[in-house]
């Protein structure tokens, strides 16, 4: 295992949390710097998740005066999180939203976070990189879009973030081959079933990559394999910005303003520049001045905020000069297959993320569809497992019978690269939230390529489970993750932000989150979002000698 002590010199978060068995540095939060609304801070960050927190930490270190807003709480894992599915309801974005289209996407616990740390608080922990091919799918395969940056430009930031989380896994043979700072974790019955089936079929698999400590890291302890990764890690073993970047940001003078809902990014139409944000805190609407605003609210709330911030000069929403805001939102097709074994698998033991194959990630010229999918272990807890059983049409006594058999099942999940489509988009609904702000209406429909990929992934998972000896296989169709909605582009007409994540039309407005991804690959997006934020921060810091508000 490589020594990670050098990480401390650029990000001391893991050393700033307690080592006495408690999980939160309350002193650091009590002593946090606080700005006045009338202070023109250097940067306001809207949304303290994967993108916003990394940006905040980097710029605070560089001496910027930063305030991070989050609509949700500033979590304390000891008091706020529980080892319980239903009790974790508050981790999710549960403000009203409307989901529409031919394939309406389930939101809430499926893909939307709330509170400092964002969706990474409840993500499983998978932290794969994109492949080099993901950055030019249009040129290579005639589908999707080309990114305005290359894999090569992002790769150094992947490595930095992998060290800061840190990521554990076997040496990775897919995409650009690379290794991980922490060794692969031991695996449970669920992972062993996947390995056995894959070996039988000659499909290569690897353990990892998961952003879960395997060994002590700073004051963060080793994982205890309790299995509740999706309910918030009470151990501080699984990475989320709450413990990987926020502590260092606070130590460098950033302020986090939690339970503060930003209602609009405010623009001065005459100068064409952002002047700050309006926000609700404690029921009072306030205005924070800022020299620069970075919206980091993820694929639904970022477009919604831009659309809700319309002015006379931008009547269709900020930075929406070319009708690009809210378009090309993507989810991954995520069919999951479960197999029944005479042995006891007890998939609830150990983290759900264990073993992966990316053998089907790239376009296979022998197949009728473009791009591909990955397969990973997932381990539904009882309530989620009931969704699998109910999805088969079972209810009443048959549902109960299947559920009684829980300990005998192993589950795999696929991530299919659904393509970016202009009509898969976020618009404003006539319904309003408790602040009176129009809520997001999210419309989603699959294209033919999407359906073919999902079918192929479904079939491949079934084969693996059968090869492992499953006596029965059940499959459930679902989706995972959310990216796009304000994509980066090489030209102003084709997107919302440029390669440095600066909006094309407003020079001091940045978008630093998953909404900027032009394509999504078959990789879980957290690591890529963080790497993009780290790169954007570097570009800002490099440019600051010219003055942070220079155009």
């Amino acid at each position: 295992m490589s020594s990670l002590t050098h990480v401390r010199r650029r990000n001391s978060s893991a050393w700033l949390i307690p080592n006495d068995g408690t999980r939160t540095n309350h002193q650091l939060r009590r002593d946090m710097r606080r700005f006045d609304d009338t202070d023109e801070v250097d940067l306001v960050v809207v949304g303290c998740g994967a993108g916003g927190s990394v940006l905040m930490q980097r710029l605070a270190r560089a001496g910027w005066r930063v305030v991070g807003f989050d609509a949700g709480p500033f979590w304390d894992p000891d008091d706020d999180w529980v080892s319980d599915e239903a009790g974790s309801h508050d981790l999710y974005w549960t403000d009203p939203r409307v989901t529409a289209g031919e394939n309406p996407v389930v939101l809430g616990s499926n893909n939307s976070g709330r509170g400092v740390g964002g969706s990474m608080v409840h993500f499983a922990g998978y932290a794969p990189r994109l492949h080099p091919s993901d950055f030019s799918t249009y040129s290579n395969d005639g589908v999707g879009a080309d990114w305005p940056i290359s894999y090569r430009e992002l790769a150094p930031y992947y490595q930095l973030i992998e060290e800061e989380l840190p990521v554990a896994g076997e040496d990775w043979p897919w995409g650009e081959p690379h290794s991980y700072p922490h060794q692969a974790h031991p695996i449970s019955g669920n992972g062993m079933v996947f390995q056995r089936g894959a070996l039988e079929l000659g499909i290569p698999v690897r353990v990892g990559p998961v952003a879960i400590t395997n060994g002590r890291f700073g004051n963060r302890p080793h994982c205890i394999y309790r299995g509740f990764c999706l309910q918030g890690c009470k151990v501080n073993a699984k990475a989320s910005p709450l413990i990987t970047h926020v502590p260092d940001a606070l130590a460098h003078g950033a302020e986090i303003r939690a339970k503060a809902m930003v209602s609009a990014v405010v623009v001065d139409d005459d100068s064409g520049r952002v002047t700050g944000v309006r926000y609700f805190q404690g029921g009072v609407e306030r205005f924070q001045r800022a020299a620069m605003v970075a919206v980091c609210g993820y694929a639904i709330e970022t477009p919604r905020l831009l659309l809700n911030s319309a002015t006379k000069r931008w009547p269709q929403g900020l930075a929406n000069d070319h009708d690009q805001v809210g378009r090309y939102v993507m989810v991954q097709g995520a069919p999951q297959a479960a197999g029944r074994f005479d042995d006891e698998i007890r998939m609830y033991k150990a983290p759900p993320p264990e073993v992966t194959t990316e053998a089907f990630y790239e376009t296979d010229p022998t197949k009728p569809y473009q791009r591909g999918f990955s397969i990973q272990t997932v381990s539904p807890l009882p309530i989620t497992w009931a969704e699998h059983v109910a999805a088969q049409g079972h209810w009443g006594p048959v549902l109960r019978e299947y559920m009684r058999d829980y300990v005998h099942w192993a589950t795999l999940g696929a991530l299919c690269e659904l393509l970016p489509l202009a009509e898969n988009r976020v618009t404003l609904d006539e319904e309003a939230d408790r602040y009176g702000l129009p809520v997001a209406r999210f419309t989603y429909s699959y294209c033919d390529n999407d359906n073919q990929l999902i079918d192929a992934a479904r079939q491949r998972q079934r084969e693996i489970l059968e090869a492992a000896g499953a006596t029965e296989v059940i499959v459930i169709d679902r989706t995972a993750h959310l990216v796009g909605g304000a994509r980066m582009s090489a030209t102003p007409e084709a997107g919302v932000v440029d390669r440095d994540l600066r909006s094309w039309s407003i020079p001091n407005l940045y978008l630093v989150d998953g909404s900027v991804l032009p394509t999504q690959g078959s990789a879980n997006p957290a690591l890529t979002i963080m790497a993009l934020a780290a790169r954007a921060a570097d570009r800002l810091i490099t440019g600051q000698r010219g003055g942070i508000t220079a155009q």
């Binding site: 008091d79 999180w81 989901t99 389930v106 062993m192 309790r226 151990v235 009684r404 300990v407 209406r441």
Partner: protein, 255 residues
């Protein structure tokens, strides 16, 4: 910790829904409470206390909802997990999932309207309210909703089914009695797990005893279905000498 008080129903000595014998004899997840963290203990044990008085559903809606949720989770005998009460609390407190399908109103309204629709179907088909129907007539009516494609009383039938089963299963499988029934180890912090792997148990976990039963999984399920069908026939015969077909005709002629 007060476990003695909270491990109801003490009167039956049972710790599973309906007091049914478990495939994991001797396993009681609540025996492990002392190994859980305080926040989790508070959350889980609160489900064993008396649920608060209903605030969201009207008495008419309550009657439909109790019967419907017991159907979906096959709760035929006490002690029951109070599904309706748990759903009522969620809706009263606005603890919904937030999002809703474009062709459904928000969750609370969708429940109210769908419960009224189920009652209407019961009156149309049998002349009595849903809650007053015998168990297997309720089963038949619920099945007609699941089988329906498209519109049902102005609601998308598939989305309503999804809503019902999602809320009912979330309530039921959040309850420690249900965990005992399925052999789930429950909360695992700060202890964690030490014995990972196939057929690997912690000292406090109990092995599934039904492995000794050679009956295959599919056949077991089919047996459950047959028991269901036979019981249904018996019940219909006792109530209606013309047999189940007569009832079926009434139902289908209504479609």
């Amino acid at each position: 910790m007060g476990r003695g008080i909270l491990r109801r129903p003490a009167e039956s000595g049972a710790n599973t829904p309906g007091g049914l014998p478990s495939r994991f004899p001797g396993f009681d997840v609540l025996a492990e409470v002392d190994h859980w963290d305080a926040a989790t203990v508070g959350t889980v044990l609160s489900r064993l206390t008396q649920p608060p008085a209903l605030r969201f559903f009207s008495p008419d809606e309550e009657a439909v909802g109790r019967a419907l949720f017991d159907q979906i989770l096959d709760q035929r005998a006490e002690p029951k997990i109070p599904i309706l009460d748990m759903v009522d609390a969620r809706l009263a407190e606005g603890q919904t999932d937030g999002w809703h399908y474009a062709d459904l109103p928000e969750d609370g309204e969708a429940f109210k309207r769908s419960f009224a629709a189920l009652d209407e179907d019961a009156v149309d088909a049998y002349g009595v309210r849903f809650a007053s129907l015998p168990w297997y007539d309720q089963t038949d009516l619920v099945q007609t909703v699941q089988d329906r494609d498209g519109d049902w009383h102005g609601l998308a039938a598939g989305d309503i089914w999804d809503l019902w089963s999602r809320y009912a299963c979330t309530a039921f499988y959040s309850h420690p009695w249900a965990w005992n029934e399925i052999g789930f180890g429950g909360p695992a912090y700060p202890r964690g797990y030490k014995n990972l792997g196939i057929n690997a148990l912690e000292p406090w976990e109990a092995a599934d005893q039904s492995d000794q039963d050679p009956v295959g999984r599919g056949e077991e399920i089919e047996q459950a279905r047959r028991r269901h069908a036979e019981a249904r026939t018996r019940e219909l015969r006792s109530k209606d000498p013309t047999g189940p077909d007569g009832v079926g005709d009434r139902l289908s002629s209504d479609k």
